[in-house]
Amino acid sequence: MRNEKKAIFYFFLVLLFFSLGSSIARSIAMTLLMEKLGGDVLPHMFILIDLSIMLTSMTYAKSTQKFSGLKILGFFFILTSLFAIFVQVLLYFNHVQNWIYGFFFVGYFFFYTIILIHVSSVTASYFTAIQAKRVMFLINAGIPIGTILGGISLIILLNIYKFQTDNLVIILAITSLMSFGILYFIKNTLNPVRTSNNVLKRNQSSIAIKYIVNSRLMIYMSLSLLLFVVISKLLEYHYQTVIYIEVFPDTRQRATFFAIYDIFASMVWLLLQVFFTSRLIMIFGVGASNIVYPMLSAIIALSLFVYFYLDTIGLMQGSLVMMLSLGIITQFINQEMRWALRSPATNLLFNAIPSHLWGSNKAFLNGLMFPLSTFIASSFLILITGFESYILPLTVLILSILAIMIAIPQWRAYDKGMFNLLSRQLFSNRSELIRLNKNFKSALQIKLKSSISSHVIAALEMIRVLKLSQFVNQIGNLLLKTPRFEIKQHCINALTVLPVSNSNINYLVEALQREQDAKVIPLILKNLAKFKNFNFNHTIAKFLTHPEPAVFVEACLCLYHHPKFLDKKSIEIQIIKRLKKAKSPDITLYLYALGELCNPRYSHAMLPFLNHPKPEVNLAALKALIRMQNGQLEFHKFRLLRALDSPEKTTKLVALKALNSCESLPDWSAIINLLAARDRSLVNESKNLLKHKLNLSKQSLINKLFTEKISAQQRFEILSLVFLFLNEKQRSDLVQAADEALNNFLFIHALLQQHKLLIYGNKTHDLITKILHEIAEEYLLHVLTVITFAAKENMEFFQRVSRGLLSENRANQGNALEVLSNAGEKYLVNRVLKCFEEGFNKQFNIGNYEAQLFTLDNSMLNECLLYNQTQS
């Protein structure tokens, strides 16, 4: 927090000094240009300024990838200062040359614009996304305050101390150097949270361009900027050339009006920026706040249109007071609200853009889109001259409605962009990886001939997945020739999935006749069993006497399931006979074979093996039992529930799958408990079962939800099943429990602080610290789980936000908080935001620290404490 205040103060001073000097320089530049060169040169000057910014933007974008933002800003301040000194010297020695005034005007506006573009990125990089939303208005207050101070200073210097305008250019040099000096303090005392420069990577520029082209947010921001510039220019033209000229025909009167307007408008701007904009953005979020400005311009355009239209058709008497009021409001919205509202809100949109791309994106917007928009606006103004005075506000009204329509998807794109920043990888290379080239098939042929097994296997897998039948002969020959088991295995699999033809069957049968390897023969048999329209039972029957159990089993099954094989009974007898004589490793195979017969008559033969001491036999018996019952498992449901207590994961999975076919269960707790398993497949399977039987399991799930001791994961999974069925009372209880969890989270943090102070150096110190961190993490996850469901978000939201908040990186934390603040739930979110923003400073009366640790009821923690006691 101390660093935050320091950062706010320093950046406020940077903007204050810079704006002070700029405001003086702007007045001098404008006055000198008008006096020496006249207003006719103004459009040329603007073209020169835009052109120079456009050209510089390219270099600027590249520099932001190589140098830190602070260094670039310092460089700009030094350049501005040198430029001002140079102009001052020129004016002092050679003030008769008029080109100097033009040079000063263009140079000043160039530096002013380029610094304004860059300074917001630098400032933002010293704050997290959520901090930036809160503090940028205080920092930006430096601009209007600096402008007011600059104006007052200029009046005093000119009217009281009687300075010549020509001699005041040096002030810009002094204030720029002062800003540079503050940057020096920033460099030495603060560290950026979000770095705007990365180590230069290959293709960095192409990544930046790809981002601009592919980012929806950038597209909407570009369109918004284009519309804003056109609207702004049209409005300015309207109040300057239509309203003010009519209200103040005298130039002197008009100048006095502008002076008074500037002082009051800057004050209102300052007040609005500090008290209104910050609240607006904090309450409604960045995306929504960007809709306000186009709405204001639409309202004022509508008012102007109504007034001038009614005046034109003679329905209303022209009133100077009303015109002046409209003019003032229009100018205020166009100028002051731009700085007090639009710019801060638009700058915050950059939060959703990766910080290392800020430079290139800003260069694109300000260096390319801005001049382009100015050109469009100017061309439009030339075209529209001579039309009725209400046409211009009508155009602005249409454009403003368009701007509102763009600001809505821009809002969505911002939220999505923030969310994506929490992902590990911003750009997916998947599309590039999947791209198939023209020589793909010839490449596969080469790979199939490769001497490296992995290459051959990869090619075979590709052929299998894509079912490329033209490779049948090549694979068949490979199967017959290769001595390597893995390659044979992949050849068999590939031949089986390719479209059925005589070729692939012939290759498989030939391989079966030739093959000597007892590991390969069962594979061929298993795959041949899939071709039921072909009769090769005679060949397969030879394998029934094979000594290898795996070969015997596959041969049995292949024949048993073939429609043309009739002597099924002999197969059943042979399997039972072998099972009775079998020793441990082979039992599982015969059990499998028996199960695959799908004949419930043999379940009695299976039952003794369910209590076998070897888990693998157990599992095989369970699988076989399930298979032979053909889904009629109601009678065996207690057996299946008992299997859930097995230490074997696969046994549990098999039992869970089988329980799906049972009508109802007497107790759901064993299945609900599996929602807390660390193995994801177990969680998914138990969740599938509970979901499938939700009508029956719902109440047990809800009861479990409100018991104290459940893990964050279990809570999440239960809520994903039953949240929609909770009533208002239950939902409010859930929020209340989450609120308590947040308090506990803070309390654990307080304990952690105490722990660090009290027994540092103890053997268990680090372990206790870690345990406390894990407990705190569990409480935070509890809160985030409830927020996720209350805000109707999903697992991805939960994972990204929790990962972001638990990260040690402040930028990640800030991004996560910003994503949270955009979520639909407000009460808990605000509490979490407050906790993280205040750095867990809530005071707790810890009392007896050790007793407090004991009350946490964590077995490992208790063991550590007892260990400490015995050691001391």
């Binding site: 372990l767 870690k770 490992m860």
Partner: protein, 141 residues
């Protein structure tokens, strides 16, 4: 050495310190405490590596053939042979006890089984090894 002491030691070892307590607890169940006298050779350069040693107390000298001085001396909480947890390549140097040394030893097969059973443990190792690789790359560049 009681189980908690094993957990305390494992928690100090960088290879395991980023794992959750629950996982460290599981790993502690497959460790064995071994004590050797001064001069005992833990393994020779060229031996097939199949276990990881964590130094609980004492010092271990790492000696390379043809080099007079030890190339490294390992202290409490240091570990050696971590790559043997993932492959069974030959040892690249000889490790010799300097004074009486106590180790926690983890066998390759045990950790492999544990990693199969609890993939998050394997994932934790991958994270640590990647971070070490990053550091090495940063140093070399």
């Amino acid at each position: 050495m009681i189980p908690l002491e094993k957990i305390i030691v494992l928690n100090q070892v960088p290879l395991f310190s980023s794992l959750k307590i629950e996982d460290i607890h599981k790993i502690s169940t497959i460790t064995t405490k071994e004590t050797y006298e001064d001069g005992h050779i833990l393994f020779h350069e060229g031996d097939i590596g199949d276990s990881l040693f964590i130094v609980v107390s004492g010092k271990v000298k790492i000696i390379k053939q043809g080099v007079d001085q030890p190339i490294a001396i390992l202290n409490e909480n240091d570990f050696l042979g971590e790559l043997s947890l993932f492959d069974a390549e030959t040892r690249t140097a000889t490790a010799c006890c300097h004074g009486e040394c106590t180790f926690l030893v983890i066998e390759h097969d045990d950790i492999e089984q544990l990693a199969h059973e609890f993939p998050e443990i394997a994932f934790g190792f991958i994270k640590v090894l990647i971070s070490r690789m990053r550091n090495m790359l940063a140093k070399s560049s």
